[in-house]
Amino acid sequence: MNPRTRLWLVVLGGGGLAALLVAACLRLPVFGGPWHPYGDRAVRAALARHTANTVASVNFDQRAFDTMGEMTILFGAVLGCVVLLRQARDEHRDPPAPCEVAAPVRRYALIVLPVALVTGLYVIAHGQLSPGGGFQGGVVAATALHLMYLGADYAALERIRPIEAYEIGDALSASAYLVLGFAGVLAGSAFLANTLLPYGTFNMLSSGGTVPLLNAAIGMEVACAVVVLLARFLDQAVEIEEGSGE
């Protein structure tokens, strides 16, 4: 198909889709209206289980099974990237030469690294209380490590990031989520049901039953997954070269 015909086809299809979307938008409930039946019920259920952050309650209690699916997608995508970005037979590893980093960049990166790491862990730990949680905090903690690459060089990053350990951590935290789910079955209720632990005092770190535990498992999973993903892409960009080497 030549580009001209294709553009016409896109315009025709896009025009039809646009008309349908606008027609659908006009029939949607009014923006900002007071009618949110599921939202109201989710808030009530979260408060009944002493979870201050309703979004965490929806993710790790009311829809914990869906979050398991989401975690599986993340795990599968990391696995796919590891397989796709492995070192091919006709490639070799060429460790990059260490290079000078401007002193202010170095100083700033090394000061911010621990602060960012602790911030990430804080966001994970307080997921059931304040905005944030395992997904957000995991990404913050994982990217914080990469300040080492900016502040020093790739070899320094590889020293604080033994990739096998993070791959094992990824698998362990994914299984921890499953084990917590089955613990509910063994305790006599349902898979991933939040009936295992006492709900605790509202707005305290240990409140919400299994929500903090599932949240921590997800935090560790996301942190390890992001580290492994970025490592694979960085390896491609920095270390792996074409040709068989020697």
Binding site: G39, A42, A77, G80, L85
Partner: protein
């Protein structure tokens, strides 16, 4: 609020989606196409958050507000948006990994040239 404001956020979501779809259809570079897919996906964030908004509502987090003292926005769609973002990020990573391999094996990331290679 005027009648326009009642549908404007939904129309913005539709517009963002269509812009992304146009970019996908006319893209000459796979990395650009992955970016366009991310634009399409961000339309769903706008749509979900717009569906969940409530006039005068605040975040559905009760660590610093008394339950019932203020209206809160719909937490269910916020959780869905979070899921959406995570899945979007992983799909982007996987597609970019595929693009890296395509660039290595075929020496091009132009979808049209790739089709010619096949034929």
């Amino acid at each position: 609020m005027t009648a326009v404001m009642h549908v404007l956020p939904y129309l913005v979501a539709a517009y963002v989606f269509l812009v992304g779809a146009y970019g996908l259809a006319t893209s000459r570079n796979l990395i650009h196409a992955v970016g366009c897919l991310a634009v399409c996906q961000s339309a769903t964030y706008v749509l979900l958050l717009a569906v969940g908004y409530r006039d005068g509502g605040t975040a559905p987090v009760f660590s610093d507000i008394r339950p019932g003292s203020r209206p809160v926005v719909d937490p269910v769609v916020q959780a869905l948006t979070l899921t959406d973002i995570v899945v979007g990020a992983t799909v982007t990573a996987l597609l970019l990994a595929l693009t890296v391999q395509i660039a290595k094996r075929h020496g091009t990331v132009d979808p049209d040239e790739l089709r010619e290679l096949r034929g």
